[in-house]
């Protein structure tokens, strides 16, 4: 016996069972010492430990008598084990039956009595493996009672399993249901006396499985455990059979029982290589058997995920992905909800009826913040359990639970930030999602998340680009047009392509009047506002946006109206109104108001874009205000100028009326005294010259005044320049001679005709020649010349007068300009200004050059060449419509 008893394989297992039992009992009590279920479960484990201890003591007994003593405790602790397990299941499932429990504990007393009265075990025999009891009929009663207790525990657990919806809890119950089968299945072997006792191992498994079920919150899905177990078993079998076969074959072939070590080594290496193929094949085979119909969808899902990594178009990928996913997990439907500006929208679905973003949750929906900040996912029933979800409004709950019939809500996260939510509908027959379903879903989520993020980035980029382009166009409109009305029409026409606008306007605040004035308006149909319309500022939406420095959005006027002034809008069919402040520096100048006939027309994206567009409108408004101020100032100056011109004209007219008889009389007087050599003649000449000078000045003044009023008339025609210059030269010669000056006329014979008014050209020439005469020293030559140059006829008067300074050249054509050197001479400084105007009106230009020959100046001007074809048509009157200088 000593040899048997010293056998560690025989002695160690019960000691191991004892240690395991104690260890697990301590763990269970440590987890929740006060819990009644934990206390009873700890008793169950302690019974198992004692059972192991008594078996050990029995096996280690020096003789059969001692062994019988310890063996008597084995059925007592064994029965206690089953009673405590049953008691535990009653507490755990909250289905305690006091009567049944009392009976069970009474049975324990009875069995103890049987044991100690010798009715259960007769004696101990020594078998090849050790001691074995010779049992009496009461032992079968004990076995039967244990069996009944275990069946009752199983029934209790199975009932609870059936009414439990939560997957995790069902898994836990599965462990508790499967665990007791181990001692029973393995314990059957103990009824064969020839076999060594192995029920001990069954009990160890029983304790381990149930304790794990109770202690661990997250348990491996029982189906996964079975699947993996099957795969391992099959692979082991596949490896073991050829190994044993080959070893046996080799051994026989060699005729020896000893197989050389190298054969084992080669065989093991070969099988190790084969193992990976075997594993994959067996794994696939088991998976296929397990998933059955779903297998092809799971494969399709894997394939789809693999091939679509680079896709960025959400619709192209997400809808088929969700459809395949729903089929793979046998879900009724699958939906993808993503944040999109103003809300969380349904963006993709396995259900074709729900593929439009008409379903949305508020962007701050509590379910989103919960999924973002708490790990894991949500089941439908969590809506009843999680406090944070009590913040969900009834609309949100209805949408998620009734409309989408969501059963499982999975977050899509990138670096702990939620980018979307996957909602899975119900499974057939109210089945719950199993761990393998979750495995499939969880393996799909990274792909879905990447797709969503890619699509989101792509969409955001697209949106940003289109917004930038739009804002660029709006900016161009604003800066290229000073007229606010035209700018606004162009602006709204661009903006309405992306934002719903049925009516809009810009209102300016006029604080001094406590009014708003509309400076630009737009209406797609019936005009709602008109430009220059005024309305009271107090109590208006514009007053609100000025006070709050924020936009104001009224989503539906028929539901709520913040400002009574919106009543007009409502009556004209407008439902949504948004008002944005227009800033000029830090002050609010007014508001940019948009209205739509659609309720809730403006999305968060729209409002964001409108905020930027309002900046452009503000620029246009400021431009308008600057332009308007400038226009007012200009009109005022023009008014003053006009009054001044009218005064000059009236004054000149008043002077010229009495001057005409003076000029005429003085000329007659001079003629009368032509032969008189007395001083009277000189006096008469002086009188005539002065009167003529005064007459000319006044004519110039009147011409200038006419020009200013755009009143000069031009008779443009084809002019023979040659003849005109000859005529002017002959007219000026007496005057020039009076100062000893000569006039050189240089005109080529081939000079073409010019298109001009000959009287006005003559006026210009006379003016220039008079100036040359006046400022050139005596006994010098003044040159009058003409030539053709680039389609124009250039006429020049070259003198020997002191050269003009740069400053004089720059200003000499300005009306009333008189340089220092001419201040002493007669004149009002209008002659050259009139010349410039007359030349320019005829399509030419006037300039001053330097006379290198004489060191004097050259006054030149150009006239357009008259073509043959246009000569006839040009015989029409042209009226000067542009004033010389309006500034």
């Amino acid at each position: 016996m000593a040899g048997i008893l010293e056998n560690p394989i025989y002695l160690l297992p019960p000691l191991f069972a004892f240690a395991i039992g104690i260890f697990l009992a301590l763990l269970v009590l440590r987890k929740d010492f006060r819990s009644q279920s934990h206390q009873v479960f700890a008793l169950f484990l302690l019974s198992a430990a004692l059972w192991g201890l008594f078996i050990y003591l029995m096996r280690a007994s020096p003789d059969a008598q001692h062994a019988l003593f310890w063996e008597r405790f084995v059925p007592i602790t064994g029965f206690g084990l089953f009673i405590f397990y049953y008691h535990f299941t009653c507490i755990y499932t909250r289905s305690a039956r006091r009567g049944v429990l009392l009976c069970a504990y009474a049975l324990l007393v009875l069995i103890t009595a049987f044991v100690f009265s010798g009715l259960m075990i007769k004696e101990m025999t020594v078998e090849s493996y050790g001691y074995a009891p010779r049992v009496l009929p009461a032992f079968y009663f004990y076995s039967f009672a244990s069996f009944v207790l275990m069946v009752m525990a199983l029934v209790t657990l199975v009932r609870t399993y059936r009414r439990t919806a939560q997957h995790q809890e069902r898994t836990r119950l599965s462990y508790m249901i499967i665990a007791p089968t181990f001692p029973f299945v393995i314990g059957i072997l103990d009824f064969f006396p020839s076999l060594p006792p192995v029920s001990l191992f069954g009990n160890i498994m029983f304790c381990l499985l149930t304790a794990v079920a109770l202690l661990r919150f997250h348990l491996m899905d029982i189906q996964i455990a079975i699947r993996r177990g099957t795969t391992y078993l099959l692979v082991s079998t596949l490896i073991a059979i050829p190994y044993l076969g080959i070893i046996t074959g080799v051994s026989r072939a060699l005729g020896s029982r000893e197989v050389p070590l190298w054969v084992h080594a080669v065989l093991l290496l070969s099988l190790a290589f084969a193992l990976q193929f075997a594993w994959k094949g067996v794994h696939d085979w088991v998976e296929r058997r397990f998933y059955r119909n779903r297998y092809k969808y799971v494969r399709a899902l894997e394939e789809l995920s693999h091939r679509t990594t680079g896709l960025i178009e959400l619709e192209r990928l997400a809808n088929p992905l969700l459809t395949t996913l729903a089929a793979a997990v046998e879900a009724d439907s699958a939906y993808l909800l993503l944040p999109s500006g103003e809300g969380i929208k349904l963006m993709a679905s396995s259900n074709p009826d729900y593929r439009y973003p008409r379903i949305s949750l508020p962007v701050d929906s509590p379910i989103f913040s919960f999924l973002e900040h708490h790990g894991g996912y949500l089941y439908r029933r969590d809506f009843e359990l999680v406090t944070q979800l009590q913040a969900l409004s009834s609309k949100e709950t209805d949408l998620l639970l009734k409309e989408l019939q969501g059963e499982l809500f999975m977050p899509l996260k990138i670096r702990d930030k939620l980018v979307g939510m996957l909602v899975l509908g119900p499974k057939p027959n109210q089945q719950s999602y199993s761990a393998s379903d979750l495995q499939i879903i969880l393996s799909t989520i990274p792909q879905l998340t990447v797709t969503v993020d890619n699509a989101r980035l792509y969409e955001a980029e697209k949106q940003r680009a289109s917004e930038l382009a739009l804002l660029g166009r709006l900016g161009a409109i604003v800066t290229s047009e000073l007229d606010i009305g035209r700018a606004y029409q162009g602006f709204i026409s661009e903006l309405s392509a992306v934002v719903p606008i049925d009516s809009s306007y810009i209102a300016l605040i006029e604080d001094e009047k406590a009014e708003l004035s509309i400076i630009a308006a737009y209406s797609s149909k019936e005009p709602v506002w008109s430009v220059s319309q005024s309305m009271p500022l107090p109590g208006s939406g514009t007053a609100w946006v000025r006070e709050h420095h924020n936009l104001h959005y009224e989503p539906d006027l028929s539901q709520h109206m913040t400002f009574s002034t919106d009543e007009d809008l409502r009556q004209k069919g407008m439902r949504s109104v948004v008002r944005l402040p227009l800033y000029g520096g830090e002050d609010v100048l007014g508001s940019f108001v948009l209205a739509s006939q659609t309720p809730n027309a403006y999305t968060e994206d729209n409002l964001r874009l409108l905020r930027q567009a309002a900046d452009q409108v503000a620029i246009a408004t400021q431009n308008f205000l600057l332009y308007d101020n400038e226009r007012r100032a200009r009109l005022e100056i023009e008014r003053q100028n006009r009054e001044r011109i009218e005064l000059i004209e009236a004054l000149a007219h008043e002077i010229k009326t009495p001057l005409t008889p003076i000029v005429a009389s003085s000329e007659l007087l001079l003629e009368e005294l032509a032969t008189d050599n007395s001083p009277l003649r000189n006096l008469a000449r002086n009188l005539t010259t002065g009167a003529q000078n005064l007459n000319r000045r006044i004519s110039e003044l009147m011409d200038f005044a006419k020009m200013q009023r755009a009143g000069l008339t031009f008779n443009l025609q084809s002019v023979d320049v040659h003849r005109l210059l000859e005529h002017v030269a002959s007219e000026m010669t007496p005057l020039l001679r009076s100062r000893g000056q000569g006039l050189g006329l240089r005109v080529p014979a081939s000079l073409p005709r010019a298109r001009a008014d000959p009287e006005r050209v003559e006026q210009v020439l006379l003016n220039l020649l008079t100036n040359a005469n006046k400022f050139s020293p005596g006994d010098t030559e003044i040159s009058l010349r003409a030539r053709q140059e680039d389609g124009s006829i250039v006429i020049e008067v070259a003198d020997s007068a002191p050269r003009l300074t740069e400053e004089e050249v720059k200003s000499i054509f300005t009306p009333y300009y008189r340089s220092e050197r001419v201040r002493r001479t007669h004149g009002v400084g209008l002659g050259l200004a009139i010349c410039k105007h007359l030349v320019e009106i005829q399509g030419g230009r006037i300039w001053i050059g330097q006379n290198s020959e004489t060191g004097g100046n050259i006054f030149g001007f150009s006239l357009p060449v008259s073509g043959e074809m246009e000569a006839a048509a040009e015989l029409s009157e042209v009226r000067d419509e542009s004033p010389v200088d309006r500034g």
């Binding site: 909250r94 939560q166 944070q388 409004s393």
Partner: protein, 531 residues
């Protein structure tokens, strides 16, 4: 199976705890998120109703700040006549049921409860049952079928209405049953309830604190001269009494309710809770559990399993609080609109008036319920609750101000009377003036022989012990400010019966403890003379 029963049958303990008591685990941010989200939903719901438009002044605030800036405070009068006339067309949602209590002026305050609101209160009621019976976090002792001894007013009073509705969705054996209780007077119900509880046992007691204290006291007194009657022959009753007798003898003390019953939970509501807490714990062997609510809102705050302080619930109303400083300003300037703080802005050690806005389509908006609370801590280290911890302080208007030096509230006066050791039936205190100085006149019905001067002296001593400010009153006023008038034995009982015969409502069967009307005091004095 009733809907809530199925939760208890199919969910794990952790899940059940989470469902009903999970709000105690919220962070302040989560608490405020729930508050703000539900407030915005509430505005959406009520903004289009007739009553909602009236109280919101035709506005639809788009944010919490805008709501607080633009919507004025309201009192019950602002909802008239819609609520008193039970005008359902003016409400945002059709009520699930109506309930009422008495207003201070003697008229009923009717409050409609919506289905969604009831769902929230149902959870809170079950949370109260769970927490009241728990001794640690996650300790689930309540199960369907509990026997509840119900000593609170029956339907259509709020507590009765809610308990009745709860019993329709969760198995509760209410003792005495509501259908029978409605036909009985308050006193009959209490007697019948305890009689039934002796036979059937009891798991939970929901009661007014003073009633339980009185029952305890009476049981102790009567156990000495207990006589066996034929009613005691009922086997269950006999076993209960025998067991109680043995237990009291073993402990060498008179028989107490704790010997007769071992309830899982004792739930209190009302201002006298803290006064009777110790007595009830002694007589009944169970630390009582306190909750704070009112007719307008059943559950405002309640205690955790440690039965120490109370925590506001996040999902029945939007909470605002008017600090004492603001109240003082408003007292000086009637036109001043006091500013409020939110739950995450409360400060420990300060007192606030509670202002709330209903959720779930119920009608009250920025409603000043007239209660003062004291914030004792911003979190409870014992339980790990990270939300402000409060105690109920007083009802505004139920205080007696003495020369602006001290504000005596009902609880202080009550505790002082208890502290004198003078046995009493009931009391009423009013403010009086003598030689131009403010005094407290206490009308007390003592149980035994005692002199008024003696009670005055004891009261003065006790108040000096309890209230620091009170100590200065005597020296400042130049006299001892407590005056006592002793009422003859049975005065309050006669008052009760008189009011009962006049058909007075339950809330008016007794005079209020603080600031009773002159008429009520006169009636007491006259009834005292009738002895």
């Amino acid at each position: 199976m009733l809907p809530e029963d199925s939760i208890f049958r199919t969910c794990t303990k952790e899940e059940i705890w989470q469902r009903y008591c999970g709000f105690l685990d919220l962070s302040m941010d989560e608490f405020m998120n729930i508050q703000k989200h539900l407030l915005m939903e509430q505005i959406d719901i009520i903004a289009n109703s007739q009553l909602g438009k009236k109280v919101l002044r035709n506005q639809r605030p788009g944010s919490v700040d805008e709501f607080r800036k633009t919507v004025p405070f309201t009192k019950y009068e602002d909802y008239e006549p819609y609520l008193t006339e039970q005008n359902e067309a003016a409400l945002a949602e059709k009520p699930f049921f109506w309930c009422h209590t008495s207003g201070r002026g003697g008229f009923f305050k009717w409050i409609p409860y919506t289905q969604r609101a009831f769902d929230a209160y149902l959870r809170h009621t079950l949370a109260i049952l769970i927490l009241a019976s728990a001794e640690r976090k996650g300790d689930m002792r309540v199960k369907p079928g509990e026997r509840v001894l119900f000593n609170l007013p029956p339907p259509p009073y709020l507590s009765g209405s809610i308990f009745y509705q709860v019993s329709q969705v969760f198995s509760l054996r209410v003792i005495p049953p509501f259908d029978k209780a409605q036909e009985m007077s308050f006193q009959e119900r209490i007697e019948q309830g305890f009689r039934m509880a002796l036979r059937e046992g009891v798991d939970v007691i929901a009661s007014i604190a003073s009633v339980l204290a009185k029952i305890g006291e009476r049981t102790a007194q009567q156990s000495q001269k207990m006589k066996f009657t034929s009613a005691m022959l009922h086997p269950a009753l006999l076993i209960t009494i025998l067991r109680a007798l043995i237990s009291s003898k073993l402990n060498r003390r008179p028989m107490l309710p704790r010997d007769l019953w071992s309830p899982k939970a004792i739930i209190f509501g009302g201002t006298d809770t803290s006064i009777y807490r110790k007595d009830v714990a002694y007589y009944w062997g169970k630390e009582p559990y306190e909750m704070y609510g009112c007719t307008e809102l059943l559950t405002i705050a309640f205690q955790a399993w440690n039965k120490k302080w109370m925590t506001f619930v996040p999902n029945v109303a939007f909470w605002e609080f008017i600090p004492e400083k603001e109240l003082a300003k408003a007292k000086e300037d009637k036109d001043y609109q006091p500013a409020t703080v939110l739950a995450d802005e409360l400060e420990a050690g300060k007192a606030y008036e509670v202002v709330f806005t209903h959720f779930y389509g119920m009608p009250l908006v920025r409603y000043r319920v007239g209660d003062m609370i004291q914030v004792v801590a911003l979190k409870d280290e014992d339980t790990g609750i990270a939300l402000p911890q409060i105690v109920f302080k007083t009802r505004i208007g139920e205080t007696i101000n003495l020369g602006s030096l001290v504000e005596l509230d009902e609880r202080t006066v009550w505790q002082a009377i208890m502290g004198t050791g003078v046995g009493f039936m009931d009391w009423a205190a009013v403010k009086e003036y003598a030689q131009g100085k403010a005094l407290v006149r206490l009308y007390l019905e003592p149980n035994g022989q005692v002199e008024p001067e003696e009670v005055e002296k004891l009261m003065d001593e006790k108040l000096k012990e309890m209230d620091v400010d009170y100590r200065d009153v005597g020296s400042m006023l130049g006299l001892q400010p407590v005056r006592v008038t002793l009422l003859a034995k049975g005065t309050f009982e006669r008052y009760y019966r008189k009011k009962q015969s006049e058909g007075a409502d339950l809330a008016h069967l007794k005079p209020p403890h603080m600031n009773a009307t002159e008429q009520a005091i006169q009636e007491l004095l006259e009834l005292s003379k009738q002895n």
